[in-house]
Assembly symmetry: C2
Homo-oligomer: 489 residues x 2
Amino acid sequence: MGSIQEQAPVKKLMQLNFFDMACAGSHMPYGQWKEPGDMAQFKDRLEYYQWLAQLAEKGKIISIFFADVYGGHDVYGGNMDVMLKGGSNVGVIDPVTIVAAMAAVTKSVSFGITGSTSYIAPYILARTWSSLDHVTRGRIGWNVVTSYSESAAKAMGKDRVPPSHERYEAAEEYLDLTYQLWEKSWEDGAAVWGSKEQPDTVYDPKKVHKIEFNGKYHKCSAYHQTHPSPQRTPVIFQAGASKFGIEFAGRHAEGIYTDMQDRPSLLAHTKAVREAAARNGRNPADIKFFAAVTPFIGRTLEEAQEKYHRAKKNMNGEVSLAKFSAYSGVDMSQYPLDEPFVFDGNTTSSNIITGVVNSMKAMFDKFDGPVTPRMFGEKMSLSGFAPVGTPEMVADAFEEQFNETDIDGFNIVYVSNPGSYEDVVELLVPELQRRGLMWQDYAVPGGTFRENIHSKPGERFLALDHPGAKYRKTQNSAANSHEVTASSA
Amino acid sequence: MGSIQEQAPVKKLMQLNFFDMACAGSHMPYGQWKEPGDMAQFKDRLEYYQWLAQLAEKGKIISIFFADVYGGHDVYGGNMDVMLKGGSNVGVIDPVTIVAAMAAVTKSVSFGITGSTSYIAPYILARTWSSLDHVTRGRIGWNVVTSYSESAAKAMGKDRVPPSHERYEAAEEYLDLTYQLWEKSWEDGAAVWGSKEQPDTVYDPKKVHKIEFNGKYHKCSAYHQTHPSPQRTPVIFQAGASKFGIEFAGRHAEGIYTDMQDRPSLLAHTKAVREAAARNGRNPADIKFFAAVTPFIGRTLEEAQEKYHRAKKNMNGEVSLAKFSAYSGVDMSQYPLDEPFVFDGNTTSSNIITGVVNSMKAMFDKFDGPVTPRMFGEKMSLSGFAPVGTPEMVADAFEEQFNETDIDGFNIVYVSNPGSYEDVVELLVPELQRRGLMWQDYAVPGGTFRENIHSKPGERFLALDHPGAKYRKTQNSAANSHEVTASSA
């Protein structure tokens, strides 16, 4: 048995994740629903989700992530007309209701499900996610969101959305409480189901404990209702990039979905989060980053370019503007859609925040000549990391982006559906595998999300340096210790 | 086309419903988990739920009802020890997470899912149930509960559970709000998906409306997030029998699950609820009652009796007492379990409510000689409608109970699992069908819950006299009008 230093360094493999939103329509402004055979209208059917899960598993995609929001994007014009008309982020299906059907037809692909810390009682969310982890046999992640929008607040009968720092402070408590429900309430071995010593016992009451939590934002006095699921705590994901989001991610996240696409931003963001992790006593490498990418893949360059141009033609610039308005808080409908628009922080809105001003400026710098709001909207959604080409060309782009940033994989944004997903599985994945960039099969086929994301069989539970792990009584489990795993290799 | 009077009266068919609770264990105190081959430990697996759904569909069972609670039964001894040890009502799986997998392997069986009006935001519940209705293609009911227990309140961080009348007052508002989200927010025809007139429109914004609700208990200003599901409003079920529960049922319920088992109680309860319906301008016959029954069916009488005696032997009387304590609020652990116990309203508890005193007295009247609390507990769960015999004998009992009360069907309580369920499907259903008491097939195979519960193709939506129907703009839909259906037959 050699020490860890003597072993050859393990090459980091690239992970691919599918990005979707459970809604009858699209969550992106590509407007592809008009193409013949597009699946947009069938996204309220189980058949779609079961097909997607099976395709992902065929392509050894680690997981499928479902974005989610409450309310809707109603800043643009003060209503949801543009989003409704464009079929974007509307017609929403609660993702917790569809996962079981996807799990029933697969064995290894995992699922990242968004859940809000602002509007669901922690006791209920803990039960729902434990249930999802049971029925998927450990293939569940929780994308923690604090729900930033006024429309969500109003849907819940609140007058306003609390400021970001307050939402994150409440979320800190929320996670602390859910960790206790997941990790502390039920000890390992609580399930007896009759033994020589305890012939009449199903669950040993001595090993099941009531959680008493009395915080500023959350209170709970209860036993966790669900017995321990395969992972206990679902894999914790996070997507926020505000300064509070970064600190929160450093403390809690095991995975990050980021929509940043240019290398300087990605390098800065991964560095900031990994530093926050280190400050919190965690191994920075334990946080896995999935960066957004919108690939256009063809068997020939011409085919790929044709797909890109069709996407551009179908692109609904006004939906893009309406989403921008929701995220920035600036109602862009105040500017005539097809008239030249001179960007100026003062003329747009005095409320506009600096970050938004900067990203708008960067966007406008890409134009030559006059820009209309519609052009701006169209540009916005196709200006990120969107490689166009043959499988080899797109694999080159993925490889370069992967090597020159500190990410762990990609969050695949679809444009056409089923085309974009199929192209990744049929064309890109084989090329990435041929290059040794991607696994040939799941690290732990039939295993849990956490085992696969760390490529470590047995790594079912939160790492010992994670803040949730301190509540687990059986912390010395060999299967879950980095040290033991490394030295026994 | 004859008038409705000229038609032969339609014989009311008996409906069967399966009663379960999504928990790794049992929701009844029968203690059958010790029997070889019992499924109790596998009730955290999808395989169990998919098997159950397929078996139910094979037996033309109209629906599977999942009971649910938050918190747990912790009045007895001030903790959950007895419930945990007995594996009853613990190890709970959130039922909303399992339905899709059951729907994916069936076409006609429906699902009644419990949801609380006290701890889930109406906007969220409306979205979740709409989603369930979409993914099941209209096979969803909502069993409305107000959550009576202190343990649920404390799990949610509340100091106390509000009194019954206050919970029901809040539930009235809650239903009014969810009806508006389901029936009024999206008009029929809102989904365009491109037409000659509106080539760029997915959802017509003119047909989607924001709901503004400003009540004493609930507020909401939002568009319903989910486009109309096959039934819009799920089939509304209710199970409470308090005076507030009866009024509430009269106004809202389309189905009732009742645990009453003796004929006088059933006759009084159905009468009270149907009268409440009439007072609210509704057709009393539109409310379908499913009464609890615990059948023991054998190919021979001896086999059935053997099943009954095994159930009696396995029965965990203390679990039964702990459940009784939770429902009544009286901690029965204060009386030695195996010492004679003289029942006296004063000696038990001054807080004991009259209804509980009466039901305890009725129970005690069935004993000759001294009674211990354990004996009381054991008696309690086997004293209801529990016919024991051959398929013919049990069918006789079902037929008599059906004919001599005003119920519409039975809620089958399992004892052994899978045995109890299989016996109903394999042995009892064919006998009921042979007698013409039960349908040969679903009235509307592949149809919605509401169509099947009313045996009327096209009856997908709330009846016009239901309080939720007033919010639907397209009320004059021929398919959903009683009058038109009757006169066109």
